[in-house]
Amino acid sequence: MSAREVSFTTLLRRAGAHDPRRVEALLREAEQVLGRELDEPVEFVSYLADPDAGVLQLLRLAESARESGRRDQLLAVLDSGRRHWLATVLGGSLALGDFLARHPEFVGDFLAWREDESFATVDVRAALLEAVGADPLADAPVAVTGGADGVARMRVAYRRALLRIAAADLHEANPTSILPSVSAALADLAGAALDAGLAIARRDEPRHHQVRLAIIGMGKCGARELNYVSDVDVIYVAEPAAPAEGDGGAGAGAGGGGGAGGGSAEQRALRIAARLAVAAAQACAAMGVEPALWEVDPNLRPEGRDGPLVRTVASHVGYYERWAESWEFQALLKARAIAGDRDLGEEYVARTRPFVWSAVEREGFVESAQAMRRRVEEHVPADQAGRQIKLGPGGLRDVEFTVQMLQLVHGRSDETLRERNTLLALARLSAAGYVGRADAATMDRSYRQLRVWEHRLQLRKLTRTHLMPDDEASRRVLARASGFLTVDYLDEVWGDIRRDVRRMHREMFYRPILPVVARLSAGEAGLDDAAARARLAAVGFRDPAGAYRHLQSLTAGTSRSAAILRQLLPAMIGWFAEGADPDAGLLAFRKLTEQLQGTQWYLKLLRDSLTAAQRLARLLSTSGFVANALLASSEAITWLDRDADLEPRDPERLWVEADAILRRSDDPDQAITALRGLRRRELARVAAADALGMINASRAAQYVSYSADMLIEGAHRISRHMVARARDLDELPIRTSVIAMGRYGGLEMGYTSDADVQFVYEGDAEGAKAMSDQVARELRKLLQSVGPQPGLEIDADLRPEGRNGPLTRSLDSCTAYYSTWSEAWEAQALLRARPCAGDPELSAAFVAMIDGARYPPELPSGALSQMRRLKARMESERLPRGVDPHRHLKLGPGGLSDVEWTVQLLQLRHGHAHPELRTTRTLEALDAAAALRLIGAADAAVLHDAWVLATDLRGAIALRGNARDGDVLPADIRELGLLAEILATHESGAALDERFTRATRRARQVTERIFFGWEEGRA
């Protein structure tokens, strides 16, 4: 006995049992209940996807069969070849096992199913209607059994039919092959349930004959590609049964809005219909003795949740003519009459069909389709994205979206594409040459496999799930249920499918656009010019003809590079299309590619690195500034492959590089050219990272400032060297420093800003002042002279006495000046003073000296009113002529300068008492002031938001790279939309405009209150 026991548990383990001892015990128990041993217990277990749970279900079924006197029926099944079917059901679906245990009377069904009759040919509608005593042949069948009893009968009949479909499905060795008929059968079964639900509803609605009601299936049910469990999307259509009096007819304008109009025949009919519809849905979805089937979701109807549940055909049509949004037309593509009055349903479908095919012509179709896709992707919770079979990247939604988009673009002119079902539509697309044969085959295979997994997961407990399980045990069950030997193999196939689908989702749409001359093999799809241009226009190219020409030029010929480009472009076109300005992106790509013709690495990099290609497309279609930088210096393209290369360089690291340049060169021209080149390279890096959304605008400004620091420090060293050499000295006998001022001092420099500085020196050697002046002048020349690399404008106007003062001052002179200063603005300007180059000791001494001036114990009398007057004058004088002040990011009301002056006033007032406020950076100072409660939290938030938004917008305008004045927000709505695209906020131009106006209006109110102190005067 013990020898058999060991080998038996081993056999059970081999057959898949997780806990063979327990499985064995359960088997024994089942045998006891059945009254005899099972013939091939191990073989039976091997058919169970979840052996441990399946055997328990067998035991429960056996007990239930015994109690209901049906033990012999169960034994008959177990003795027949159909026991494998039973096993696959018990192991694959706990819920259906429960159903059998609840209704052992159906166990005999396994033997009743005829070999030569498929589940797909069963008349489920008749079966469900008869279950409630309704006549399937009647125009409007009425149930004999109603109420809870009728509902329960209908649901039992539903599940009995479901059992048959599931048994065939689970038992099928190659489930992907029958997937379409399984899905279709499930859709028909759902329609039948609604029909039976209606029959039950009619029984309790005496006036049901006054109305014709049709239920239209939308979504998967409409397309006959339903899941085991998912919401069934429906729309209800109704008409009065007899022609209404007056028969106002065609004037669709009267269509069923919310008017309080009273009781015409039509309205009476609609009220009855609404009651029927609700009752039919409840028959499927409400709680009951026999569990609910699925949710019925009527929210795709006109006006969604807010709209009337039931409308007439004319009212539906009226809505689609006037109000509907693009996505609603896309939804109509799937509409099919599934229950209720067939003629009426068909009429609805026929009348709404034309809308589907004119959807692409509507304005905003492209935007709304793209926005929808983005929304769908963003809705997937990040922790689920990797497990989502339906919505995750490379999931079912990608397949459906791609197929639908192609249908909508080409279905207008090609009627063969007008097909609801995803797989059939895919076949049509392939047959008509819109999609390559190989792609279509892969897509088809992938879709089927994904759906099979989804079905298996749903069957388990008949729950609505689209998630790959994350625990090992459940994955094992899934692998067994779907014909995969191991979990590893399943994971591998899943990975392949996701990658393939993702790639095709990107490329399928674009590859056939490539000009026909570029066709490689006969198996690939080719579009004629018009169709290609239609696709380009459909994804957002404003000049499709131009884009088509660029593509032609890029892919023409038999060269190696043309061949690589033919591989690359399909994906890249999609990425261009996602950028702010697809046309500009493609044009820049053509220029870049032509310029780099003959280099080896360029196309190789793009071919080998999807990341680099995607980023290049994004940059070129987003930022004219970066595009120009790349055209000027193509080495930057090599960074795109690696995040680390796009990471802006820290100042220390930058300086090490600059230092090395200075050490190995003693030719000033060569050295400064190299340093300028270094700065240009860093600007390109920062701009690329900025445009790719890897850093935000204020961090970008910080790194732009650092690269100016590096360049000025280097230039300072060179100029000291030159001045010393000119005087035959080894070393200058004075210390010199450069102090950054203004936004540069605050590390808030823009890509094209000047550098505000002042110069200071220390030393009493003879001619010290002359030497210092000369160092400053040489430095300026080094930075501003025309050279092979871009320079940097130096602006020293913020020095003591401004333009009229000496170019450089000694520390003593500065001290004397600031200790007796009379101008409030100079103390204010010092708030942002930050040494950026030169002698560290002198710099430290300078900072210590100015602290007294910029953080005074008390604001000198008159300073406040002087600042206010100055600011008010600036507002009226400094703005460029002809510019709407409200659109000036720096000087306009609520703009950068409002925020900065307000913050600086707080710093001047409280910096002495609160060292936390002593920073040259606006946001740091603002946050510190808020933390100290020197400004209310709400006011601080308003200023913060306005400053950040204006800074982001300046950054975006600079990146866009086409503005005459980078401080003026464009008024053109389209241009604003492009800026929003660069900011990656996904809002329309008008919405951005609104947001900006609101932020600045609020910031202005705060400024008027806190900086100008105006509020007191008002009520």
Partner: protein, 447 residues
Amino acid sequence: MAGMDKQQEYVLRSVEERDIRFVRLWFTDVLGILKSVAIAPAELENAFAEGIGFDGSAVEGLTRVYEADMVARPDPATFQALPWRGERQGAARMFCDIHTPDGQPAMSDPRQVLKRTLDRASAQGFSFYTSPEIEFYLFKQFESGQVPVPVDRAGYFDNVPRGTAHNFRREAITMLENMGISVEFSHHEAGPGQNEIDLRYADALTTADNIMTFRAVIKEVALEQGIFASFMPKPLADGPGSGMHTHLSLFEGDRNAFHDASGELGLSPTARHFMAGLLRHAPEISAITNQYVNSYKRLWGGAEAPSYVCWGSNNRSALVRVPVHKPGKSQSARVEYRAIDSAANPYLAFSVMLAAGMKGIEEGYQLPEGAEDDVWELSNAERRAMGYEPLPSSLSEATDAMERSELVAETLGERVFEFVLKNKQREWKAYRAQVTPYELESYLSVL
């Protein structure tokens, strides 16, 4: 044409069958003035397909100068033959939605402002219904610089046999009904030559469209009869002003959300919060509901005009009044806002009134005690003691209050908000620069 739909075809057919020679495309500027572009039937097809481009900078508040191009797209559902008798050949009109050249709805189109506000309410399950009582004057043809002379001098509910006003009203009602606008009730108001016509309850957008149509019809009928109609809030120093008391209610589906049989006065908590919102925000929305310098002469001219922020049941001096309705008529629960005048832009005024009420619901504002006295009879000190704040006493005060209002800015959208503010500040400045006959009379000889 591929894009042609049924409604558009219907319009084209009607134009042909009825021998319509001109189609007027109607839209409303930010100040509430009806604008009309006439096109020939031949241009209609193109107007449906692409809209009619026009120079938006010529229309108050529609655009800023540098983005002047706008597109008016007629809404075929609003097609209506115009029953003007003066036009020998047929004319018809359609309301338009205003779009920017790239196809987006113009932020500054008042109709869009109202649609947006209605959408926000609808997101919370409410639809907004309004019914205005529109007052206006009929004058004999007048000459610039003269004090206008009313057509008759009848009093409240007087029946003037064969009076001009009588004929006028009969004509106007017929014409309005020809245009599909039902008129609920009409009687002669207190002032000489003054009329009141009440429009039936409808959703706020329809009502606003109807008000625009109504004004055009009234002006047209008056001209036909050789008289002159004006919706000016206070045309006569010694006569009552022309208000547009508006009844408001919210519906949740088919149910009147203001009704609660067990509540005080049959009002639901929703109604009470809504009223509290209206009251609290009344001062800041005044520049919209009472948008002209002249509006404040009505508001502060006594004679039933509500000058103080308070509410009452059947209190004709209160700003918000709860009309008594028959028990059991739950659908007719409503509140009446009495500040708004006949010269308001109905799209914007309904928007801010709805937004104020919705704010009250969202924030659960508490409704203060109702006022039972005639507020005008109280002394200043009494009013202050009871917490009855005054409404702005001038356009200048009203714009100041509006300038500080987040509610109005958010409702109108920043663009319209900014425009209205600037426009009203300019109006006040221009008005202030006047030296009036009153001043000359009072001061010139004495001082």
